[in-house]
Symmetry: C2
Subunit: 502 residues, 2 copies
């Protein structure tokens, strides 16, 4: 719990005010993606920049430095310490960067995102190149101002997304993983090549998809009294500083139930984290997830480890068949589960299977490092991208749209974001082996449709902790060892071996 | 347009920041009434009070007084002058009241609203009495601090809702109206008593109601690219400081299409005002409606003058019948229009017909004045209410719920709000006669389903002006004379005479 001392309570009051400002901005952002009418956009941009301007004002006002110093001395509990640590970091970043540079970056982000959209539409990287160059040079300028002696430049970028890991640590893990994933992808592509094509060309009416999805959400423990599900172009999860209101979105596709369903489970995995924080953390900078990677571990865990598993479908397949008797009534469980678990090199990250997905990330991580260190230039990106795709996945994108232009992240200047996706997979696998050890009935429970015991385990071990611990601390605390990528390989090997030996 | 001088542009920048803060709060409030999950309420309250606290901070910061002085001197255009006038008023109110008193009032409002809910549920005024007494005494304290020499106490309250009218002016109008309305209500109750009961006991499926309602909205010119319609317990209109996003809500009732339909048209009438402001006014304190009464004139105009008229249904009734062939396929147009235009004294204001509605308002105005002047005490309210109902409408509420407890307004401390509803009716009638004079084809257009010419007239005369003029100024400007309640009586007499002479 937080101490009752004045310095801690003062800092907590500031944290609450900032959290409510951010929460308000999140509501506006959610509305923008879900219900806002088209002509509302320009005013909404002003509202959001007004709120973020005030957030910055409040965070950097004169008294905050002193407040932090006093609180640091008074910090006793792990709540206190985490609060000081998280706020101090934010304060330092906010005060180290000149306002003019922040403004320049914000404007350039917006311009680069627009030119990225156009470039992607026309599949022509050259339309994006100049803006990306400018954005990158501004981001590098900012990174150099923030850089600590112990940090590489990449570390500074990574710090925004995975604050307690370094380039070196990630590189070590990814270097270890790369050859294993390449080999596994090649092997499993062969193994799964003959999986029956029983889902192709079929139509799954939206109403049934929605009902089935919400049944799964309920079984996972998503609290509809403390959250909602809505529609948006790209699925996301959002929260407003408290366990009482956590929302996910999904998209609809009659031609493909897989994408919407697994996205629903994925976002619900994030949402359980935010609904599951301890009540004492709400309205503070200690509410939330330890890092993006840790949050991604929850979404990937539910999406892949649970919802693409045989035990999951042992219980759920008859329910699914009841919703879609014409489409899958005559398809066997085994054929169905194989159909949702095939491995095949493909161009688009968001459509990749569990195995090749990791290679998509490592490719981006490698390129980002070379870009930040100056080894390659922005103009070389398409060539570098295609060469790596070819060497790692054995395929060659026919166009920029299917290659270097597919993701929005760099147009936001978000270098260092991608690794968190793969880290999430790795943590998920490591948690899975710990869970099976501590709860030997886990797979039986899943096969009986009982997902709540697993949710409770995750809640107790991870969700309740909010941002009290760093991700490396939490991984160690929960699994008894540091992050170990071999669990991921082991998980994939065991899973596909079992599925395809049947 | 706004002048380009620095003092005006500086004030405009403050106005924009305040508008965006208020707009953000409005989005949060909209969400609260439409989509927010139940457990989101407590955090939402914190977010809203954070935003209103910051609004108050920004409005009352040291430099604002000087900013206003300079802008006042520099004000040249009607835009400039209106901006200074609206902001200066808000500034004075915000700075004259001690923060502690404002906080006390806010807390008491919340408590009084809760006890009002309980009291209404149990139909027992005594459960509300003490809190209302406390709230009233705090509000009186504040009013005395704000009161100018020329103002009565009631004027101070009225100023929050109908800022450019006085108690004396309203009283003169209502006193003139009261005997005429009493007589007209008695007469028309008899005239309409035998209207065929062709709607009672029928069910109108929601989907058809919604489609029909949206067809009418489109014909009125509601821009769905710049607005939405959603569901909430009580219908309302909201906007966020710009013409690009104006939303209405409605409620659903299978057993009664009238309430949802006329509420939809009513709220759309408000919405057209906010969608129709001149683009130069957005993001400033001059965007919006001249007053609550003027806004209500637009909603009532569309709801009553248009959508309850014979010409409206001459065009729309066949469409309505197509949606509900089983319910009204065999009912004649004449019988249908009579059924939606009957007069009968009733207890509940929001369910009252066009004629008795005014008496519900005059009753509240009379009681509020007696309460504020100390002629009656809070504890006497139920008795005073019932006596007036009896003398004005000839009926006696059987319970507090059907009497003094029916409205939420007093529990918010909103004394002086009710008159704006009736003023809206009066302005609507006066506009109607002006419109018919300037656009002789108006009734023919309505009967041909052409509502846009009327919308354009209202937009040009009223909506475009935003808050540039006061309501009395605007009434005079548009109709050529000051507010004259006789138009309302004339409108009612002519309408019912025509309908019931058939």
């Amino acid at each position: 719990m937080f101490s009752n001392s004045k310095p801690i309570q003062d800092l907590l009051a500031l944290s609450a005010e900032l959290t409510h400002l951010e929460g308000a901005a999140e509501v506006l952002a959610w509305d923008q993606e879900t219900y806002m009418p088209p002509k509302g956009g320009s005013t909404r941009a002003f509202q959001l920049s007004t709120l973020s301007g005030i957030y910055h004002e409040k965070l950097t006002q004169g008294k905050v430095g002193l407040l932090l110093q006093k609180a640091k001395k008074a910090a006793k509990t792990s709540h206190d310490k985490a609060l000081v640590r998280r706020l101090e970091k934010e304060y330092q970043k906010a005060t180290k960067l000149p306002k003019a540079l922040v403004k320049e970056i914000t404007e350039m982000q917006s311009r680069a995102t627009q030119s990225w959209r156009k470039a992607k539409e026309k599949s022509d990287f050259s339309l994006f190149e100049k803006d990306l160059e400018k954005l990158l040079s501004l981001q590098l300028k900012a990174a150099k101002l923030l850089q600590k002696k112990s940090q590489t430049l990449y570390d500074v970028f990574l710090d925004d997304f995975e604050p307690d890991m370094t380039e070196t640590e990630v590189q070590k893990i990814f270097d270890h993983l790369k050859p294993k994933l390449v080999a596994l992808a090649a092997k499993l592509t062969k193994t799964t090549r003959d999986a029956p094509k029983i889902l192709e060309g079929k139509t799954f009416p939206i109403a049934g998809q929605k009902e089935f999805g919400q049944e799964v959400m309920k079984r996972m423990g998503f609290d509809f009294e403390a959250g909602r599900q809505d529609l948006s172009a790209h699925p996301f999860t959002c929260y407003f500083g408290s366990v009482g209101d956590v929302r996910i979105t999904t998209h609809e596709d009659e031609k493909d139930f897989q994408n919407p369903l697994f996205a629903t489970v994925h976002e619900s995995g994030h949402a359980l984290y935010y609904q599951g924080n301890h009540q004492s953390l709400i309205h503070s900078h200690v509410y939330g997830s330890a890092s993006l990677g840790m949050s991604e571990s929850q979404s990937r865990f539910w999406e892949n480890t649970i919802a693409r598993s045989l035990p999951f479908w042992q219980y759920h397949y008859p329910l699914f068949q009841a919703h879609f008797p014409d489409q899958v009534g005559m398809v066997s469980l085994s054929d169905f589960v194989k159909a949702v678990n095939t491995v095949r090199p493909s161009f688009i990250r968001t459509e990749a299977d569990e195995v090749t997905y990791g290679l998509h990330i490592i490719l981006r991580f490698d390129i980002e490092r070379e870009l930040l260190s100056g080894k390659i230039k922005v103009k070389d990106l398409p060539k570098a991208w295609n060469a790596k795709m070819s060497s790692m996945l054995g395929i060659n994108p026919g166009s920029d749209r299917e290659g270097v232009l597919q993701d929005i992240h760099w147009s936001h200047g978000s270098f260092g974001y991608f690794p968190t996706y793969l880290l999430g997979n790795l943590i998920a696998a490591q948690l899975w082996f710990t869970l099976k050890k501590e709860m030997p009935t886990a797979e039986k429970d899943i096969a009986a449709g009982k997902l709540l015991p697993i949710r409770h385990w995750l809640k107790e071990k991870i969700h309740q902790q909010g941002k009290l611990y760093t991700t490396p601390e939490l991984v160690k605390k929960v699994t008894g060892e540091p992050l170990n990528p071999d669990y991921f390989i082991k998980y994939l090997e065991e899973k596909f071996a079992a599925l395809y030996s049947q």
